[in-house]
């Protein structure tokens, strides 16, 4: 039996996966089966395009512990492709299933589509320098990061089958305790409209004041490169933009003192307009920029703040 499976522990992400999953299923003329850990979401999932929902119930609240049960459903139904939401929990589950099921796994796909009857994905490699296109083997798992696809539009007239499934949780003596929410000191960069980004070109933490002033003038949030957060701790870890940090999509991204290593750029290059200010005209950030000023940030940024103030 063929078909497309989708799973995420997060209903918002499940709806985004259904956009991609429905398109694949229609191209291959197969059905979409969604797995969920939450019975109350089944109607919404069907409205968003699933033909069948398997609502898994179990005694364990830890989403990762359902990997073996999901792998069991995959063994039984033999789907052509399995789309899993690329949250960190989702990637954990995906890799566990891939190990149990001995199947392929493509993480953080930028796109997934049917080309000449085969499912193909693209993803970035070498820190964002290159894009790799793969033709998937049957039964391959693909994770897709949140917000890669828009949520599927709900249509309440759609109908589908709902199956309840009692999950068997393996007893491997895993004990989950002390779950602490991370309190965000700043706004969520992932949804910011404008971002001022600072890098190691800043001489001292006092210069963060310039970033704050510029951000205030622009109505922007403040982000940074990895070393500003991880080495200097001038901003919290969740403020750094890059491959292993935040992926941002603002209308305007304006950086100063950022050289533009590819690992950073990959987090910012979905911005509509990229502006760079740096004294090194050979800095790679300028290749990634729409507009740039070559100059000393200590001259340029105060002049820009003043100009914007008028």
């Amino acid at each position: 039996m063929a078909g497309i499976f989708v799973y995420s522990e997060d209903i918002m992400v499940t709806k985004q996966l259904l956009t991609a999953g429905r398109a694949l299923a229609d191209a291959l003329q197969v059905s979409v089966t969604a797995l969920t850990l939450n019975e109350t979401d089944t109607a919404a999932i069907i409205a968003c395009g699933a033909d069948k929902v398997i609502a898994m119930t179990g005694t364990n609240l830890w989403p990762e512990s359902y990997a073996a049960s999901i792998a069991g459903q995959i063994e039984k139904e033999q789907p052509t492709a399995i789309l899993i939401g690329g949250t960190l929990r989702g990637k954990d589950v995906a890799a566990r299933i891939a190990g149990l099921h001995n199947c392929g796994l493509v993480n953080s796909a930028l796109s997934v589509e049917v080309v000449s009857g085969k499912v193909e994905t693209t993803r970035i490699i070498y820190g964002g320098l290159a894009v790799c296109t793969e033709e998937l083997s049957d039964g391959c798992i693909v994770t897709i990061d949140p917000r890669t696809y828009e949520e599927a539009v709900a249509d309440a007239t759609r109908s589908g089958e709902t199956v309840a499934y009692k999950a068997e949780i393996p007893d491997d003596a895993t004990n989950v305790g002390a779950v602490c929410p991370i309190v965000r000191e700043r706004a969520d960069l992932a949804i910011a409209e404008k971002i001022v980004c600072v890098g190691r070109g800043l001489g001292s933490q006092d210069d963060m004041k310039m970033a704050e002033d510029l951000a205030e003038k622009l109505g922007a949030e403040i982000g940074c490169t990895r070393s500003v957060a991880e080495d200097y701790h001038w901003l919290p870890t969740e403020s750094y933009i890059g491959l292993s940090g935040q992926k941002v999509k603002p209308q305007l991204y304006i950086s100063f003192g950022v050289s533009g290593q590819v690992q950073h750029i990959v987090g910012a290059r979905d911005s509509k307009i990229i502006v760079a200010i740096d004294k090194n005209e050979k800095a790679p950030i300028f290749e990634a920029a729409d507009y740039g000023i070559v100059g000393d940030l200590y001259d340029i940024v105060p002049a820009l703040i003043e100009k914007l103030g008028k």
Binding site: T133, C180, E287
Partner: protein, 258 residues
């Protein structure tokens, strides 16, 4: 206690150039390095070993060029190296790498803690650690920023975007680490010199006795192309500060951003 620190010898992505026009990749000047995330892995293994009087084995799967990685890896503190030397590593995916490393870990025999990076700095597949755990049938905790071993168990603090959680599992176990777990030491001359005296076991892929399909990558790579940067590249380099700022503000106004 026995700790296995898994690492990958990768091309330094900073040295890879995208050829304009064709968007093919020029790797002719790219040097090798231990994957950045795996420097944290080796460091954590050694830190844990210092605390618990454990033996650390550095394990890698790489082609013949990975030989030079062992000296670097061992200068960071592990007692011995284990290298599966085969050109198949060049095209291995997460499935193949996990099969090879699982077979290698079984060959090493004694293991309590197996550490991996969350991904490699070249292809960042983010899957080998949990796959190895599944193949060995042992627990795994991913994305750890802190680990503590006590009483035959390991507690790892995971960082998951919107929360942290402490997960305790019984040893033997696999843990994958986030880079913030530690700051890797920079080996001194003495450590570098000492590294060449440490034992390294080299094995061919054939010696691991894996089935043919276990070392065949799952997916077909159709193309690898440089990411096309399509930007306006209007750079103001000449003129006074005021002129340059005025030019930028004018452009951003035209874009409707101010």
């Amino acid at each position: 206690m026995n700790i296995v620190a898994c690492y990958k010898w990768v091309l330094d992505e900073q040295d890879i150039k995208v050829v304009p026009g064709s968007l093919s990749l020029d790797m002719s000047r790219a040097k090798g390095k231990i994957s950045e995330y795996d420097k944290n892995v080796i460091e954590e293994a050694v830190l844990q070993a210092e605390k618990h009087a454990a033996t650390v084995t550095a394990l890698t799967f790489g082609n013949s060029k990975a030989k030079q990685s062992l000296k670097d890896a061992l200068s960071r503190g592990p007692a011995k190296g284990f290298w599966v030397n085969d050109a198949a590593a060049d095209i291995a995916d997460g499935f193949v790498t996990a099969n090879v490393l699982t077979a290698a870990v079984k060959k090493i025999g004694e293991y309590d803690l197996i550490l991996f990076g969350e991904g490699s700095s070249d292809v960042y597949g983010q899957q080998v650690g949990p796959r190895v755990a599944a193949l060995l049938g042992i627990p795994v905790v991913t994305f750890a920023t802190k680990i503590e071993v006590a009483d035959g168990k390991v507690t790892a603090t995971r960082k998951l975007g919107d929360c942290t959680e402490d997960v305790t599992v019984t040893l033997p176990a696999v843990i994958t680490l986030l880079p913030e777990v530690n700051k890797p030491r920079i080996p001194g001359l003495k450590q570098v010199l000492g590294a060449s005296k440490k034992p390294v076991e080299e094995l061919s892929l054939a010696a691991l006795g894996l089935e043919k399909e276990a070392v065949a990558p799952k997916n077909k790579i159709k193309s690898i192309r440089g990411y096309a940067m399509d930007r306006k590249n209007e750079i103001y380099a000449a003129g006074t500060t005021e002129e340059k700022v005025a030019a930028l503000v004018s452009s951003l106004t035209k874009e409707g951003l101010l």
